[in-house]
Amino acid sequence: DQQVKQNSPSLSVQEGRISILNCDYTNSMFDYFLWYKKYPAEGPTFLISISSIKDKNEDGRFTVFLNKSAKHLSLHIVPSQPGDSAVYFCAARGAGTASKLTFGTGTRLQVTL
């Protein structure tokens, strides 16, 4: 039962254009959402997050949008750069003090010149 879904395994975008990565979730108890970026042979690194009490959070070139009614979030990268080429994981926090994260399957973004 995949509670966090990233339906696009890969995405290719030209340098300078917008990259939009999507994520859907099924558990309405999730209250915090994060995006992680992963380069080959490295661990994931935190990129940006959003609480369920907000619908948008922005950090430089990265913006995350949350649509709670649709149980959907998206990550926008503007403008895309070649260094953004990586696998992006969406993650959601469940209830409980340990704040365990449930991860999506990832989307591989390739930014081309």
Binding site: P44, F89, A98, L101, F103
Partner: protein, 117 residues
């Protein structure tokens, strides 16, 4: 600050062998986690710990054991390796936050790639 350090980076095991994946962090984080990532899949939680002496099962704990005798270290033990345990293993840690509207991010190690044949 080294962050989260995992050893070894690579390991090949024969079926039935045992090994311990080491994880240590120098950030004084309370919470530590072990995830595994299979090809084309997301990260699945194996075990986690909210502090020294406290551990609990995640989504996929079968075939693994953990201990947390110190804040810094959170080793993962495989007792009888099976081909299904071929995966990349990530250890992560994070500090405890008291605000429900904020979640301190996980800091990950660079992973251990394990092959069981």
């Amino acid at each position: 600050n080294a962050g989260v350090t995992q050893t070894p980076k690579f390991r090949i095991l024969k079926i039935g062998q045992s090994m311990t994946l080491q994880c240590t962090q120098d950030m004084n984080h309370n919470y530590m986690y072990w995830y595994r990532q299979d090809p084309g899949m997301g990260l699945k939680l194996i075990y986690y710990s909210v502090g020294a002496g406290i551990t609990d099962k995640g989504e996929v704990p079968n075939g693994y054991n953990v201990s947390r005798s110190t804040t810094e270290d959170f080793p993962l033990r495989l007792e009888l390796a099976a081909p299904s345990q071929t995966s990349v293993y990530f250890c992560a840690s994070r500090e405890r936050t008291l605000q429900s509207s904020y979640n301190s991010p996980l800091h990950f190690g660079n992973g251990t790639r394990l092959t069981v044949t």
